[in-house]
């Protein structure tokens, strides 16, 4: 062997050793929650980076656990729907496959790929207004997540990266001070959420934070545009229709629902002058699903919980009150599992969490009743507005503050 050949072998040996060492370290620490082979309290049980890679983590969960029942949606479904609820008892290893910032297009693609890997029989999907904004686009990580479900070899790729190596180090260094974000079923751990609310200064603070975050993060600046369709691409409603048709074609039981949001979030939408879009979104979604639901003989339905009610108008603690716990909400966008359980009761008529109250909240919507329902919603909105002037002033000031940092004035 001449010197050039020896040199080449040396290069190869160093490169392979380095890459394999980094990969092995990442597999063991598993900072993005991809394999859960080794879970040790104080070593790697809490994973500070996992939320940023939730698409990937949930894709790996599908491949690893092959659930037959699952929840899909955004972080609202992820934080609010309890996988220990009795509606999942006949669906072993049911998983919460919601992830933060999911758009309806992403949800559609994820559901279809997950079904290809793990024959789904029952799915529940939370629909959020902002996840239908066509200006948001698909997160680049989604392709990697879909690839990991399609081909297990691709699923190994993230381990061989400096990005995950940095996350592994971060995981080890931060370990003693952290609470895990996820339960093993993919649902956000309520203990983590409660800790986060307290550490952030209480519910009112996180409400204000989430309302500002919504303006900054979910509406493209500076025009704050909400659109169901961008250019000639399929609209968000098309993605929903495709999703429902897919479920019907594959014989999957599907429950769709407009996610419960606190009344303050509905008011934020109104102040941002998005209310007509909000009503139009609900109406179009219902009309798109209607013919498919009719063909599915009750196995597909759509419900509305994004409404004003005693639950969604739950009063907030005072600003400096970091200890009082709200019953139904973490912040303006995210509901607690207590409310999620009521939603699941309503969707499946199980009634395990007690009688649903207040009456009239959480109705099944269809082509026949949607317009009347939206008219009623407008009335309830006006009643809320009249009774909560102080809250409204606070919301408006908060939004203006968020916009000011972007150099935008609220008209």
């Amino acid at each position: 062997m001449n010197s050039a050949s020896r040199w080449f072998m040396g290069v190869l040996a160093v490169a392979v050793t380095t890459a394999v060492s980094v990969g092995a370290f990442n597999v063991v620490v598993d900072p993005w929650g991809l394999n859960y082979w080794l879970q040790k309290e104080g070593f790697n049980r809490a994973k500070p980076d996992v939320v940023r890679y939730s698409r990937l983590a949930k894709a790996h969960a599908v491949v690893r656990l092959k659930p037959t029942g699952a929840v899909f949606g955004t972080s609202t479904a992820e934080q609010g729907l309890d996988m220990a609820h009795p509606v999942w008892h006949d669906y072993p290893r049911a998983q919460n496959l919601g992830f933060a910032g999911a758009t309806i297009e992403e949800i559609q693609l994820f559901v279809q790929q997950a079904h290809a890997v793990s024959k789904l029989r029952r799915i529940v999907i939370g629909l959020d207004f902002f996840s239908f904004n066509a200006n948001l686009g698909v997160n680049p990580q989604l392709q990697e997540a879909l690839g990991a479900m399609r081909n297990p070899l691709i699923g190994w790729r993230p381990y061989f990266s400096w990005k995950m190596f940095a996350a592994s180090l971060d995981t080890l260094l931060q370990q003693p001070s952290l609470t895990p974000y996820y339960l093993m079923n993919g649902q956000s751990d309520p203990a983590f959420m409660q800790q986060w609310v307290s550490a952030s200064g209480g519910h009112r603070r996180v409400f204000l934070f989430s309302e500002r975050g919504l303006v900054k993060g979910l509406l493209p600046q500076p025009s704050l545009r909400f659109e169901l369709q961008k250019g000639s691409a399929p609209s968000s409603i098309d993605h929903l229709r495709e999703l429902a048709e897919f479920a019907q074609r594959e014989g999957i039981e599907l429950r769709l629902f407009f996610s419960p949001t606190h009344a303050r979030l509905l008011e934020t939408i109104r102040i941002l002058k998005l209310w007509p879009h909000f009503e139009f979104w609900k109406q179009q979604a219902v009309l798109a699903v209607e013919p498919i639901a009719q063909r599915a003989n009750g196995r597909i339905s759509i419900w509305d919980f994004a409404d004003y009610s005693a639950i969604t108008a739950e009063p907030l603690p005072a600003e400096r009150d970091a200890t009082t716990r709200m019953r139904w909400f973490w912040d303006a966008q995210h509901y607690k599992p207590e409310l999620g359980n009521l939603v699941l009761d309503r969707l499946f008529g199980s009634g395990t969490a007690g009688a649903f109250s207040p009456p009239g909240y959480g109705v099944q919507v269809n082509a026949a009743n949607i317009n009347k329902h939206l008219l009623g919603l407008r009335g309830r909105q006006q009643a809320y507005e009249a009774a909560h002037q102080d809250e409204l002033a606070e919301i408006r000031a908060n939004i203006e503050k968020a916009l000011r940092t972007q150099g935008i004035r609220l008209n």
Binding site: A4, G10, V11, V16, T18, P140
Partner: protein, 460 residues
């Protein structure tokens, strides 16, 4: 297929090289060439097989035209065949690259909206069209050899250069493909090829892709950049483009050298240039060579007095700009360089000279400003960023983080003071220390390959 992908690094390149030398070892030179053609076409079709018939048709057509020119050599038919061949190539390029632009502007002038034409630019079409036009012209001039179909197909489709150059010249390539000495594995070439490939990969992954974040963010909001940020954005792009394109070229040269085929150099530390003429001798050298030999000289070059020379320079650079893309921004970029060369020529003619530091500063500043047109989505966007660079939006504060500043400084230092990757690969001593360093660098790059990041010149 991208050079900076797992599929290329771990599968395509090793398999292609191994099978090629295995066939060569079995004394099947033609079969080895056929293998390289097949591998190159697979490489081309990997991303989108739709355009495979296009490149095959283009190869077949140009080969047939070249044979016609040879058979009819000396009579008017040869000239007609050449004209037909060149026109057909330009029409093909024009259809895919300029139809949308032409119709849109025609519509705008007529006050109508022709709508969007969905014509996707086939990968590498600008490169393989130019390569073949040069071959036809030289065949007509009796300056080209008479290759067999396989050799010709390999010259056009050879995977290291296919998607983004260098723009090959048949004179320097075809003899190499046929040389029996190149048909056995030479460890020295393989090792130095691997080193140059690794250095190119590092330029792309560790520098260009990091700078891309700064440039992309800035160019997405060109009207919001004040003086400091606007300059950072434009400098980041200038460096990104250099490291991206020269990184690609180093990877191409390195991969090709593993097969004992030497591709021409495309870069010679261009940001050290002391004049615009000097810059074009250092930047995208094979394009400059093509434009000079097949456009500027046939137009008359500098043989017709100052005005005619200025006209020829302007035409060459405007068309060179448009070659990069169908848009007013590319036209403006080409025209700016053309004008700069005309002014520089007049300045030199007057016998005026500048100290080197000032000449470098003026050259680099001009090149950097011209890149703004090259990168911006529209003339309005380019002007918006230039307004920021001119201080019309105030000084502002530096918004880059420590990591971003470090990458920019590293990029600038390497671009201005670093050795060429080709020189490093050539002069490096193949010992334990360099094996360790190369292995570590290769691993570092591979572990940084987390997202697909196409090369900028794939768009052209």
């Amino acid at each position: 297929m991208l050079f900076n992908s797992y599929a290329f690094i771990f599968l395509f390149l090793p398999v292609t090289v191994a099978v090629y030398f295995l066939i060569c070892r079995l004394q099947h030179a033609l079969a080895a060439q056929v293998w390289l053609v097949a591998a190159s076409l697979f490489f081309y079709a990997y991303w989108n097989p739709v355009y495979l018939p296009l490149i095959l048709g283009s190869i077949g057509f140009n080969y047939a035209v070249s044979r016609t020119i040879l058979i009819c050599s000396g009579d008017r038919t040869a000239r007609s065949a050449l004209a037909f061949g060149v026109a057909a190539n330009l029409l093909l390029l024009g259809y895919y690259k300029y139809t949308g632009f032409f119709l849109q502007n025609l519509g705008a002038m007529a006050g109508a909206n022709p709508g969007l034409l969905n014509i996707t630019l086939p990968l590498g079409i600008s490169f393989f069209t130019f390569t073949q036009i040069a071959f036809l012209v030289d065949t007509y001039r009796h300056q080209a050899s008479r290759p067999g179909l396989v050799n010709y197909a390999l010259f056009v489709s050879y995977f290291p250069h296919l998607l983004a150059g260098p723009i090959l010249h048949h004179r320097e390539m075809m003899p190499q493909f046929e040389d029996a000495r190149n048909q056995r594995l030479l460890p020295e070439n393989f090792a130095r090829g691997l080193l140059q490939f690794t250095l190119g990969l590092a330029k792309k992954v560790l520098i260009a892709d990091q700078l891309a974040d700064i440039a992309n963010a800035g160019f997405s909001q060109p009207g919001q950049q004040a003086l400091i940020d606007a300059w950072c954005v434009s400098l980041a792009y200038s460096l990104q483009l250099y490291f991206d394109f020269s990184g690609y070229t180093d990877m191409a040269l390195g991969a090709s050298r593993m097969l004992n085929i030497r591709l021409p150099a495309n870069f010679d530390v261009p940001y050290r240039a002391l004049s615009i003429r000097d810059f074009w001798r250092r930047w995208h050298i094979t394009l400059s060579r093509f434009l000079r030999e097949y456009l500027y000289v046939p137009l008359g070059g500098n043989r017709g007095g100052a005005l005619a020379t200025a006209r020829n320079i302007m035409l060459t650079f405007v068309l060179g700009g448009l070659w990069h893309g169908a848009g007013w921004t590319f036209l403006a970029w080409g025209a700016l360089h053309g004008m700069a060369l005309v002014v520089e020529r007049a300045w030199r003619g007057a016998g005026a000279a500048l100290p080197n530091w000032l000449a470098w500063l003026l050259t680099f500043t001009f090149v950097n400003i011209a890149w703004v047109y090259f990168r911006a989505a529209s003339l309005a966007d380019a002007h918006a960023l230039l307004e920021g660079m001119a201080g019309l939006r105030g000084t502002g504060a530096l918004s880059l983080g420590g990591r971003e500043i470090a990458v920019m400084l590293l990029g600038a230092a390497l671009a201005l003071f670093g050795n060429k990757a080709a020189d490093l690969a050539e002069q490096c001593r193949l010992n334990v220390r360099t094996a360790l360093a190369t292995g570590a660098l290769l691993a570092t790059c591979v572990l940084a390959l987390t997202t697909t990041s196409p090369f900028l010149y794939f768009n052209f």
